[in-house]
Symmetry: C2
Subunit: 493 residues, 2 copies
Amino acid sequence: MNPAYQRLATRFARIATLGEASAMLHWDASAMMPPGGAAARGEQLATLAGLQHELLTAPEVAEDLAAAAAEGEWASANLALMRREHRRATCLPTSLVEATTRANAACEKIWREAKAKADFALVRPALAEVVRLQRESAAALAAATGLAPYDALMDGYQPGIAAADVEPIFTAYETFLAEALPRAEARAAAAPAPLPLPGPFPVAQQRALCREMSERVGLDYDHARLDESLHPFCGGTPTDVRITTFYAEQEVGKALLGVLHETGHALYERGLPEAWARQPVGQAAGMAAHESQSLIIEMQACRSDAFLGFLGRRLHATFGGEAAPYARENLARHWRRVARSFIRVDADELTYPAHVILRFRLERAMIEGRLEVADLPAAWNEGFRALLGIAPPDDAQGCLQDIHWHDGAFGYFPSYTLGAMAAAQLMQAARAAVPGLDAAIAEGDLRPLTAWLREKVHSQGSRLGFQDLLRHATGKPLDPADFMAHLSARYLQ
Amino acid sequence: MNPAYQRLATRFARIATLGEASAMLHWDASAMMPPGGAAARGEQLATLAGLQHELLTAPEVAEDLAAAAAEGEWASANLALMRREHRRATCLPTSLVEATTRANAACEKIWREAKAKADFALVRPALAEVVRLQRESAAALAAATGLAPYDALMDGYQPGIAAADVEPIFTAYETFLAEALPRAEARAAAAPAPLPLPGPFPVAQQRALCREMSERVGLDYDHARLDESLHPFCGGTPTDVRITTFYAEQEVGKALLGVLHETGHALYERGLPEAWARQPVGQAAGMAAHESQSLIIEMQACRSDAFLGFLGRRLHATFGGEAAPYARENLARHWRRVARSFIRVDADELTYPAHVILRFRLERAMIEGRLEVADLPAAWNEGFRALLGIAPPDDAQGCLQDIHWHDGAFGYFPSYTLGAMAAAQLMQAARAAVPGLDAAIAEGDLRPLTAWLREKVHSQGSRLGFQDLLRHATGKPLDPADFMAHLSARYLQ
């Protein structure tokens, strides 16, 4: 490699190391920090982000990027990603970045009150300002990248995916859902009501079981922690991942399936290529790719009949009582229940994409100037009714429910459903490639699956874009047919 | 303030904010981090330290320091401390700093093995290299500060204290101890043997009691955490202090008194002047000052007859069983036991200074070139015998016991005893100034004491040097007479 490339590699490693420090401080803020530490923590994170930005946008970076040359596929991909990060960081004027940070923080704060009061008017002016600035950023990013404005925002979350890729996939899903949802509901209505899971489920036992399950799935606690936070997440760094969950004494499924979901994220981080640690090409391939890894573990593997049978036996052995509630079929009635509902984060696997499709269309329209914030509640309710046949009773259960837009995140929502679809496609390919995959899952052994994921996905870092990663692993780009086939098999037959 | 001063204040705040991030990552490494995170954590801390150093030594800092002017006592003290930090950071060549970091790390690693094997020869070459580099650093610091070489190292831990201040105080203590120790031992021998504290002491109950006691002493858990680590410490930041301890089921005193010790450190951090947060003058006044705050809580207040009576009642109420072992007199026999011993960290209040005096003399001689590393074990054993009349059976219980020298910390040891002496002096002044102080302590209420400490010590930050701080709080500079009077009252009467 030439000296300019070497200097860049050193600089990007330094930037990534500061990012690791931030990641640990973010985890601490959610899982450990006493409330009185919040103000100082905000300063610490802002200082680290400021230094990262300075390192990325220093004048010598542009010179080195112009002079740099890389040999080999990985280094070439790395250099291309460096150029991408630099372009995205330098095309936004500092004044716009600062105005955005302020507007997002102000809006998020008001949103909490507006949501509590189900009063959209309260947050409307602040959200309008957020959208105005997002449009400005999108325009600047579009000019620098050659993408359309909304695509330029999407690209910040999942590189290489544009609205034109998503639109036909989502339209096909809408058609599928219109037919599938009534059938799934009819099938569920004909089945016996689920037996209640007795409880209580003492937190200490839940904690031990969650840890055991995450270990079975492949998480190595020499390089990980499991803690508690209000909103579960996966944070930390590749050699020190930190997952969290939230325990409730009366409910065991939420914490357990949540831990399995975060374990999927954690395994991706753990499996990233060590030789490219702290380089752009050594990072995960984007948010949709990341979500595919949590969902293949949680939704594809762990909510399968095979794993639910195993899990039911472990639950019964742990918490005792009658065996019947822990039977596979009964767990499936609880944890694979299909129902039209207003809240995305509580939605089932079949209707979840409808929540995402609605948001994708609305946020794209807002960025493209076809929808004003004042008209959002009406557009939301109309769109929701068109997709799911019901409309929320108030905006708290409608357009106020998510933090994302109120915190300035536009272009992120599609990642959830792209991830779900990719998970189904990867599972299908793994089944074809790995003999005995489902038999192992039925014994609670996910190692055959995770070994395949490590080879095909995790160890690839960002060498390949989202579509090429899927081609590499499954032989085709994103294809919603596998997801629909999975849903049909699980909910319609 | 002029613009140069303003720029410096902004820069030093940024440096301090990076220091806060480091402090949290250090705490995490000791209290939370899985072992596999160690290598990445090392990189994170090194990167933050490197950025702090770059910010402190950038060319424009020297220009701004030359042009800066400050108004008022606090700002003037702040500017003087900025100049001091800059001088100490810039006078050491980068090559020397790097060689020192490497040599310290290498020596520390070998030391762990040498200590385990009680084999000084193993670590001798590495320690000789550490000492050689410390001499070089001391010479460079001496040239920049006008201090003697060893004083320049001491000044890095406790500004404003030199060997010439310490030498007569330590000599006086040596004389005092020669007479006091046999008397204390005779008195202890004449007393009944202590009743054993029954145990076991379940860890969950110890944890709750430790937290309750630290709250009584004044720690506010909106701004603090209590966790566990192998070596107890106080870390974190002023609005988010993190103290740790280590619980053993069979022993309750060590964790409890350890938590009270760390609470003293934590209260100092919590009480630092908010208006000067992240500025040099807003930091604690040095390591001896810090140790005075942990020891006034642990040794002066909490091991007093008054508090032990209260503590015994709380212990008995918590752990049940017979009342007699928890009587004040019996707890005192356990927790104020005087005995000649080889290990500093286990030493009692009366003999602890002898351990420090020995180290002070030896490390000073090493820095001044009067003692070579090869001669250290013999000098240690001879000095130990002169001070305490016994000699360690091997070097693991002698010159290999502490990490400090093997990690490159020369000039730190005196802080322990200066802190113990300052604690006695401050307690004496607090008793004279605050009516009902001991009566409150007998009720487990330390608020009158900590309120006085907050006003006289904590809120002063680094505005005053160590001696001036004591003058401000007690009307006189460091005077070992108060410490000796305290020891006489506690151990000889």
